[in-house]
């Protein structure tokens, strides 16, 4: 085992991909000389050179679109977009081209493109650098959306995403980059299909992903002290949703709390909730609960930012309520 960070795990994955496959290159704003806005690609320019670590001008739509074109032309691009808020400038290319070209061409062209971006709040970056819009992307057919929440996934999802013949969007929660932990020396590629049970339990299913996994596990420990044995599901892949794993958990616990840093209205949590009600209504012993971000642009001051996004006390309270306990 080695001690590493989420940031270093992603860097190791990029380095491995660049080493293994000559078609892979990394492109984005400040990925080269600067080393990446979040320091992920630090050192890669010196190691792989400017052809493969490409600094781009600030033109999200065009460098994402160029990634699509390069994928069409036989390359395996990794495009880094600094944050999900900036990716809105490339929404046209992602939604109108990356997600549709295979379909519009009648299956003649696939787009083997990986787009990585930071998402989420927690670092006082205010309302244009801290939103969680991955749920929007998960709305769109034609792309795959994943959210690594652990070191293993940070290390292992990239290669599998590069193997995918279709576009894969990787959402890296910005509070995770410094997360430190143990990783196997021979950490491998991981699947992008299945949700993971991060903590088994029998009383209530806490369903989450990305930046809120840690908070949810923390809540589960507190609940355990109160005699509530919570199961924690890490979605890992937001599109397509692994409903069998979610359903198996809910069938066992008969209660579900969905924790999602997106806004509640029209969110991924709403989708999961609806599917559970549609397909597993009679397995439920209590109404489904949701812990989401408050319906407000993420505020700058720490106390307001903290109040705007899911926190362990709210998760604990929601779980208690589904168990019929108050307070």
């Amino acid at each position: 085992m080695i001690t590493t960070t989420y940031r270093e795990a992603i860097r190791a994955a990029i380095r491995e991909a660049l080493t293994k496959d000559a078609r892979v290159f990394l492109m984005g704003e400040d990925v080269g000389r600067y080393g990446g806005a979040y320091g992920v690609s630090k050192g890669l320019l010196a190691e792989f050179g400017p052809d493969r670590i490409r600094d781009t001008p600030l033109s999200e739509s065009t460098f994402v679109g160029a990634g699509i074109g390069a994928a069409l032309g036989g390359m395996r691009p990794i495009v880094e977009v600094m944050t999900v808020n900036f990716s809105l400038l490339a929404l046209d290319q992602i939604v109108n081209n990356a997600a549709t070209i295979r379909h519009m061409s009648g299956g003649q062209f696939s787009i083997p493109l990986v787009i990585r971006m930071a998402t989420g709040a927690g670092r006082q970056l205010a309302a244009q650098h801290a939103h969680s819009l991955e749920g929007w992307y998960a709305h769109v057919p034609g792309i795959r959306v994943v959210a690594p929440a652990t070191l293993d996934d940070a290390r292992g999802m990239l290669w599998t995403a590069l193997e995918d013949p279709d576009p894969v969007l990787i959402f890296e929660h910005q509070t995770l980059y410094n997360m430190e932990g143990q990783l196997a020396n021979n950490a491998q590629a991981v699947d992008l299909d299945r949700a993971a049970v991060r903590r088994p339990g029998k009383d209530v299913s806490l369903i989450t992903y990305g930046g809120t996994l840690g908070k949810t596990l923390q809540a589960a420990e507190t609940l355990a002290g109160e005699g509530i044995d919570a199961e924690v599901i890490d979605l890992r892949t937001l599109r397509p949703l692994d409903m069998p794993t979610i359903a198996a958990s809910v069938k066992k616990t008969r209660r579900a709390v969905i924790v999602d840093e997106g806004w509640r209205s029209g969110s991924l949590s709403a989708e999961i909730s609806a599917r559970l009600v549609e397909q597993h209504f009679y397995d439920l012993d209590a109404p489904i609960a949701r812990v989401c971000s408050a319906e407000v642009p993420i505020p700058y001051p720490k106390h307001l930012e903290d109040a705007a996004i899911p926190q362990p006390p709210a998760i604990i309270a929601a779980a208690r309520e589904t168990m019929g306990r108050r307070g």
Binding site: G69, A70, H103
Partner: protein, 363 residues
């Protein structure tokens, strides 16, 4: 007459498109006598014109639905410019791309079937008029978001450059796209990275119904390209030979590794923007002025008056094209509808391919 007909008849014998036969015009023209080459240009333009006239008719008959954007009046641009492209070059076009598709060598049968939405269409019916794709001829759409194709072209050219392939990516777009941010971002990036992109601006004066004077502070479009240090020129888009000559010059320059190039073709669309357009924004007299410069009529007149083609030859071309269009309609009519059970096909690639690294050593 009979001989001319035999010689002029395009290869419609098989559904696999005739790319190898049709899309090597630059190679073929070397072997052809000049007259023969010019006659073929005329033939190609007439094919596009008659195909689209038939499409308009079929639209009224309810056979073709959705949006239909006709290229009539602009044929010289697609036909002339395609002469300079090799089969390995890539094409990115717009939603007004029937002319480019035909000039590139996508079979008229497959194109007409696509107009119908039939499974035998070049995009298997999923795209329709605005989304023509063809892997065999490296035809990457058919893009109906104005300006959306330019970043794709930059990326295709980047892929060629990184793989040391001497290809050009030809990117067609209209004057409307010049107002989009993606135009500026793409020209900047292509110039910055010296990528082999040929930006071909079809300036037909109108972004849908908005005249260029009402949309652009600088109406000299090549000046915008030049501001990114891209070599640029303006060419008469109603003159097929002028288009060909300028495009050859540009592709040669790009193949020498001198970076992207921009050509503005001054052209005009004779028909409405789409089939829903009442044309309230322009005077009929303006259209008539441009129609006097019809690229087919003027070129045909030049050839016949110069003795390079006879009226008999021109009418033989018309006969051949009439036959080809009729065959294409018959082919589309006989085509099949994709079964509804296949609705979800081609959203994702069926089996994830094994990710085998190529034999290229990583430096």
């Amino acid at each position: 007459m009979t001989d001319a007909k035999v010689r002029l008849k395009p290869d419609t014998t098989s559904e696999t498109n005739t790319a190898s036969d049709r899309i090597a015009p630059s190679d073929r023209s070397v072997r052809l006598q000049p007259d023969e080459h010019r006659t073929r240009l005329l033939h190609e333009m007439i094919r596009i014109r008659r195909f689209e006239e038939k499409c308009a008719e079929l639209y009224s008959a309810g056979k073709i639905r959705g949006f239909l954007h006709l290229y009539i009046g602009e044929e010289a641009v697609a036909v002339g410019s395609m002469q300079a492209l090799s089969p390995q070059d890539a094409i990115v076009a717009t939603y007004r791309e029937h002319g480019h598709a035909l000039a590139r060598g996508i079979s008229m049968n497959a194109l007409m079937a696509e107009m119908y939405g039939k499974h035998e269409g070049c995009s298997r019916g999923r795209g329709g008029s605005m989304h023509v794709f063809d892997a065999k001829t490296r035809f990457y759409g058919g893009n109906a978001i104005v300006g959306g194709g330019l970043p794709l072209a930059v990326g295709l050219a980047l892929a060629d450059a990184l793989q040391h392939r001497p290809h050009v990516t030809a990117c067609y777009f209209g004057d409307g796209a010049v107002a989009e941010g993606e135009f500026h971002e793409s020209l900047n990036l292509a110039a910055l990275w010296k990528l082999p992109v040929l930006f071909l601006c079809e300036n037909n004066l109108y972004a849908m119904g908005t005249h260029i004077e009402r949309a652009q502070s600088q109406t000299d479009l090549k000046a915008k390209a030049q501001s990114y240090l891209i070599a640029a020129e303006t060419v008469d888009g109603m003159d097929v030979m002028a288009v060909e000559v300028a495009t050859r010059r540009a592709t040669e320059r790009i193949r020498r590794g001198e970076g992207p190039m921009f050509i503005e073709f001054r052209t005009y669309r004779f028909r409405a923007h789409s089939m829903f357009d009442a044309e309230l924004y322009r005077d009929k007299s303006e259209v008539e002025v441009w129609k006097a410069r019809d690229p087919i009529a003027t070129f045909s007149a030049t050839l016949t008056s110069g003795g390079q083609a006879s009226d008999v030859l021109v009418s033989a071309i018309e006969d051949t094209v009439t036959e080809e269009v009729a065959e294409a309609v018959a082919f589309a009519e006989a085509g099949t509808w994709e079964p509804v059970e296949d609705l979800l096909h081609d959203v994702y690639t069926p089996a994830r391919e094994a990710h085998t690294a190529p034999a290229v050593e990583v430096k």
